[in-house]
Amino acid sequence: MRSAWKIMAASAGLGLVLSGCGAGGGGGAAPGNAAMTARGPITVWYSNNEQEVAWGKAMVAAWNTAHPEEKVDGQEIPAGKTSEEVIGAAITAGTAPCLVFNTAPSAVGQFQRQGGLVNLASFPDGASYIESRTGGAAQQYKSDDGGYYQLPWKSNPVMIFYNKDLFSKAGLNPDKPDLSTFDAFLAAARKIKSSGAAKYAIYPAPTSEFFQTQFDFMPLYAAESGGKQIVTDGKATFNDASGLAVANFWKTIYSEGLAGKETVQGDAFATKVSAMAIVGPWAIASYKGKVNWGAVPVPTSTGKPANQIYTFSDAKNVGLFTACKNQATAWDVLKFATSSDQDGKLLTTTGQMPMRQNLQQAYPDFFSKNPAYSQFGDQAARTVEVPAGPHTVEVLQTVRDAWTRAVISGEGDLAQALNDAADKVNGVLAG
């Protein structure tokens, strides 16, 4: 065994020597101004769901027909645990594509810190293009340094989906159910359970991953607080009265067994294990032919009117990566892919909401032909994003850890758990 220690020590020593040779930040220069004005072929990645692949292929084909000298190679994002990990690894390896049409805002801060993203505001028309397309909501996607390292592309405003058939079975109004207040929601949930219409009223994922915070706490906190982010001006806000009210609401849901605490296989709503789901319009395609659904805004304690309800955006944006050699072409492709025409095609093909101001007025035909999407179009004007910066994931994980213990498991004092999490988040943000 002594020899094993020697081998370990020698290996570590050798490795340190070798790694010392390769580490230290490098001395080369990132593709700079030359790349920003260069034109030529580029590669773009898009999401791998059926609808977005269809849109992506059509968009790329349309660009290539009009620009034979600047061909775009469209590819689905390579498989991985999450898209963000794949993109992060590609940035480190220098193999990131020019554009990724599936960049999660929660990951942008880290990509920026890695030096992987181009500041779109450094293009002459960068900031003006983003702000004229998205309006005031674009401010949520601005970096601390005033730049735009992502183009706000599409949102999936999170709402409460319900199964009309199961609501009828439970004796609830299937066309206009009252789910506007916490009390009304709980009453409906209890009725669903007691009637045996479904095993659970609702089934948000009860697991510990950081991103689950975005699909139970954040939508209701945005609504209850009138559009607050969980962090404002570098300080946690989620332990205020609104946060406590939302946490108490969900704690009641779990303590009464109205939501499941176990990992569910498949989609609980699509398989009728639950009568409600908290999700954005991207899921509609997967409910087609399976669920006779309706949707309402998320509840608040006082039952705010629908036109005052905020929710989590569940946005996916577009990043332009520094590994791109032909960034001028990439910027043109980005503007082409987010043009009024392409946004309309995205809306029609995927049912997801382009982050474009006055969305319903921009595409009146789509919303008149698809009235079920109108409320998502309306809700898209009032969405709240995750906090910006390199610590977003750590902040969300901290909230999640407190949530699983104090809300889902119901352990300890809820207010104390939120305060402890807020203190930890403030410490992280203070560096």
Binding site: S11, G15, G27, E85, A93, G116, P390, S409
Partner: protein
């Protein structure tokens, strides 16, 4: 002390018998050949093992983060700060406690079950190949695929709880803080068993038949033969199984990631590697994750040393 001048040495070489010179040449050629044949493995060890390990130690001493190639950033040297933070971090301490709990259940269970099953399989005459393949199949199957079956079996309304009836635990296995890690340990034991059975089956072929015949002549029971002939006969395989199952167990990741939804409930099934993944990959703190990794390597080495110290036969 007599000294030899270079001139004298060269004269000495010149007068050396041709047979001795040829022998030296042969030895030199053999040594070069030895290095040549070893070179691929040495390169492999240097690139796949030594470099990453050394780089991990290097990263753990810095506020390190990954960047795009050519990006100049400051990564300040922080000394042992990542280590002190890791040792003081309740989540890290819980993860190390969890993995120790896992090893305490998984390693002995693996050794005992695989040895017993290998011994029985070694004695089976009919359907031997079928049985061996059956035990090996879970090992070959990806965890991702098998996890679904276990989620179904151990859910609140799953088959296991239906069989247990009123004895079923509440909350159920995988969402119960006390039972989540033991459930994972059982899953991993079952999944890895086939591989260790194969190791024991190979070792059993080296235990002489005459030893069993002698034991039988002395009137030994099946259990006595097993205890006094089989167990000592496969001792070196047992040390190997102990070491391998400890190393594999210490690297636990997939099962808590998938089976208990990211180390739940409330961190009861987080493992150090899962925390490394969260900190290093998701939260962008690879320096901190590397410090946890180095601590894990040290813990595993200490356990492996103890196993080798007490498990290996002494000459």
């Amino acid at each position: 002390m007599a000294s030899t001048t270079p001139a004298a040495m060269s004269a000495d070489a010149a007068t050396r018998p041709p047979a001795a010179s040829a022998h030296q040449e042969h030895r030199l050629r053999q040594r070069v050949l030895g290095w040549l044949f070893s070179a691929p493995y040495l390169v492999y060890v240097a690139v796949i093992f030594a470099y990453p390990l050394g780089f991990a130690v290097y990263m753990s001493l810095y506020d390190y983060f990954f960047t795009a190639p050519g990006v100049n950033v400051v990564r300040p040297f922080v000394g042992l700060r990542n280590y002190t933070h890791a040792l003081a971090d309740p989540a890290v301490r819980q993860a190390f406690g969890n993995v120790l709990e896992f090893l305490v259940i998984n390693v002995p269970l693996t050794v005992v079950l695989s040895l017993l099953l290998a011994t029985l399989l070694n004695q089976v005459v009919h359907a031997r190949a079928f049985l061996r393949v059956s035990f090996y199949l879970p090992y070959l199957t990806a965890s991702v695929a098998v996890v679904g079956v276990w989620l179904f079996l151990f859910s609140g309304t799953g088959l296991v709880n239906q069989l247990l009836g009123p004895l079923a635990p509440h909350p159920s296995w995988l969402v119960n803080e006390r039972l989540a890690m033991p459930s994972i340990a059982l899953f991993v034991t079952w999944k890895q068993l086939g591989f260790y059975i194969l190791l024991y089956l190979a070792a059993l072929q080296n235990v002489g038949r005459e030893l069993y015949e002698a034991a039988s002549t002395d009137g030994a029971s099946w259990w006595s033969s097993f205890w006094y002939v089989t167990v000592p006969g496969v001792r070196s395989a047992t040390v190997l199984v102990l070491l391998l199952s400890t190393i594999v167990g210490a690297n636990l990741f997939t099962e808590p990631y998938l089976l208990t939804g990211g180390g739940g409930p409330n961190g009861a099934s987080t493992s150090p590697v899962l925390v490394m993944y969260q900190q290093g990959i998701q939260q962008g703190k690879p320096g901190y994750a590397a410090a946890i990794g180095v601590l894990l390597v040290l813990m595993t080495l200490v356990i492996a040393w103890l196993q080798n110290r007490f498990g290996q036969e002494r000459d």
